[in-house]
């Protein structure tokens, strides 16, 4: 049985692929790799883990000159320490890992000759795992949630027109029910600012 968010995610992904396959005009495929800074929007997450360093691999498929679909893989790992709620002095290290498969549809615009801008909306399939590394306490789960993204790519080297430097700003809203003391629902999403490079294959 497929849950509703997963069904929505698969529908979105399917529509993106379908649109690409059905597109009669020219297609552009670009792959990018990037890393950067994650700023959590949830205060509890921020308190426990602070900012993190995400890594991302993405594929961008542009139909014609205006619209496209993107999908990728985003990895975030961070460590922190459990909060002592009532005055305890022990340290219990924590580790959180989040793996996201983002799918989005975007609008592309050109700024000058060498800069492309993309503005997208979509969904992310997030798998997460939080572990108390010194105890056998593990929480894992997954969640589909909406996301917004914007990116700019700059073809800086005229002799390598397929290579571009990429800057991306992603925003994920990942609110998850929690049985913990600190909150009923916890937000593990936030803003990611990534920089990297891309290569256009065709």
């Amino acid at each position: 049985m497929i849950r509703k968010p997963a069904a929505v995610f698969m529908l979105l992904a399917g529509m993106s692929l379908g649109a690409a396959a059905a597109w009669a005009g020219p297609l552009k495929l670009t792959l990018s790799g990037s890393a950067g800074m994650f700023t959590p929007s949830g205060r509890t997450y921020q308190h426990l883990y602070g900012a993190g360093i995400p890594l991302s691999l993405d594929a961008w498929l542009t139909f014609g000159s205006r619209f496209g679909a993107a999908a990728g893989l985003n990895f975030l790992s961070d460590s922190g320490t459990a909060v002592a709620v009532n005055g305890g002095e022990d340290d219990y290290p924590l580790k959180i890992v989040r793996l996201t498969i983002p799918v989005s549809l975007y609008y592309a615009a050109r700024l000058g000759r060498n800069v492309d801008l993309r503005f997208g909306v979509g969904a992310g399939l997030h798998r997460y795992r939080e572990e108390w590394t010194s105890l056998s306490l593990v929480t894992r789960g997954w969640k589909v949630s909406p996301r917004l993204c914007a990116s700019a790519s700059w073809r800086a080297i005229p002799s390598l027109p397929r290579l571009a430097f990429v800057g991306t700003l992603d925003c994920d809203f990942v609110r998850i029910g929690s049985g913990a003391l600190l909150s009923d629902k916890t937000e593990i999403g936030g803003f990611e600012f990534l920089v990297g490079a891309s290569w256009r294959f065709f």
């Binding site: 002592a84 009532n86 002095e89 108390w132 105890l135 929480t139 913990a180 600190l182 909150s183 009923d184």
Partner: protein, 564 residues
Amino acid sequence: MRGVRAIVVAVLVLGLFAASSFAEKPSLLKVPKAQTNALIVLKRCGVEVLQELQTCYIIRAGRTDISDLRANGIVFSPLARNAGGKAFLLVRARTDGTLAALRAAGRAAPVEPETILFWTDAGDPADRLPEGLLWKPLPNRSLLARLSPASSTAPAAAVTGISADSDVALIVSDVSTDNLRTLVSALESFQTRNTYTTGCSGAGQYIYDYFAGLGLDGLRFQPFSGPHGTTPRNVIADKTGATCPADIVIVCGHYDSTSPMSSTLAPGADDNGSGTAAVLETARVLASHAFDFTIRFVAFAAEEQGLFGSAYYAAQAADDNERIVGVINLDMIAYADALPEDVTLIVNSASSWLADLMAAAAMSYVGLTSETIVNASFTYSDHASFWDQGYLALLAIEDEPIANPYYHTIQDTSPTLDFDFFTSVTKAAAAVAAELGQPERTGPPATPSGLTTTVETYSSLFKTAKKVTLTWMEQGDAVGYNVYRTTLSHEGYEKLNAAPLAAASYTDGPMSVGLTYYYVVTAVGATGLESNNSSEAGIAASAAAFAIKSWPAETAIVRREGRR
């Protein structure tokens, strides 16, 4: 000028109207229990939970509370609007016509299939209630702080056997049918023990004198404000515990009676001369023995008018943080509609271990069979006053539904009683009281005392872990200690240590704690014999898990500030 004045008056009137319409007018709501985290959300929202029933909570909520409940996805249904300042009754509805009869007498809303909320727009709804119905006042103060998720969801446990203890068997064998006959006759001799009569106060004095003759401790009357300006009195006496005197086992029953002629004649031999006599006889057979815990004998007054006596006692006990281990309420235990008669034990989920213990004691010591009913909605005797304060309590009764045809009539007299059955139930009550009180035994070390817990709580995004440190007073005759833990009070203890501990302390965890944990400690002697359990120490999930108020706003309960 006149026009300006008219406008000012109109604005004031409109302002007052608007203010009154926006004022917090509390409503009574029914919140089904079968919702994920319902109790946790209720706790975090801080609403007033007035009554826990088998399938739902009855809560009192203002506009803000209602917004919070909606924002947190809690499903509820309204029972009564503008509930402030009104008295409400819970009425047992076993027949189809009850709801119509109540609606003819006042206002009524079905809560559960057999429970109706009844109230009137003015006056005391008890005065308008049709005759012959079981009822109980809806408490006016919240029991939220005393509810725990574990207590609300604990499963009905299976009845298991216990090994008969020779000390307890000796106590049980001392219960006398002749004494019970004498006691019931003495209570009947007051003609009526109706709360408004001198017969009731005379019966109270008789009980007091009886306790005094047994040499019990802490003998006292407990006067309280009763119905219609009366000042009835509970009668209380203690068999003080030798090791853990602050832990109290209560054996109780109400001594008032009623009938259609209650001002002059209400013999109440079964209801509740039988329960009262059993309390007195239990006190007699326990008085000469020593126990770890205090055993308290209480005869309540004004039960028939709405559990006044027990409600007062239980509220005072809660205010004083009395550590009540369990309550055995005896009400109508001497009529047998069919032989062999069994005793019916009514408990809520959290108290089901009490029924298990009494059922096992009844079978092991007396050979008496029992039927256990787990029904938090059966609130029509004094045990319910203890449930309302979060205490564990049991009702022992001859039948449910009541089968005594003389119930609440002037024919409720001694000749209608079955004294063999009555003696058996009294023996079972004495046995369970002795088991709970833990007789002092020769051979094993003394029971450890002074068990305390210190809890450190740690939290991540998704899990909360607790580290519990237990300490207790060393026993001179102990060579080691065992520590036991359970998630259901008094049920299913599991030993935590592999070998006896040398020191009088133990650290448990850190571990993920979704429920309240309860601990007891025993002392182990040189011969390997193990003492009785210490008093139980709980790490209160309610105190620790719901007390976080100063955490950042995101972590607080979802509130719709803009709608206030």
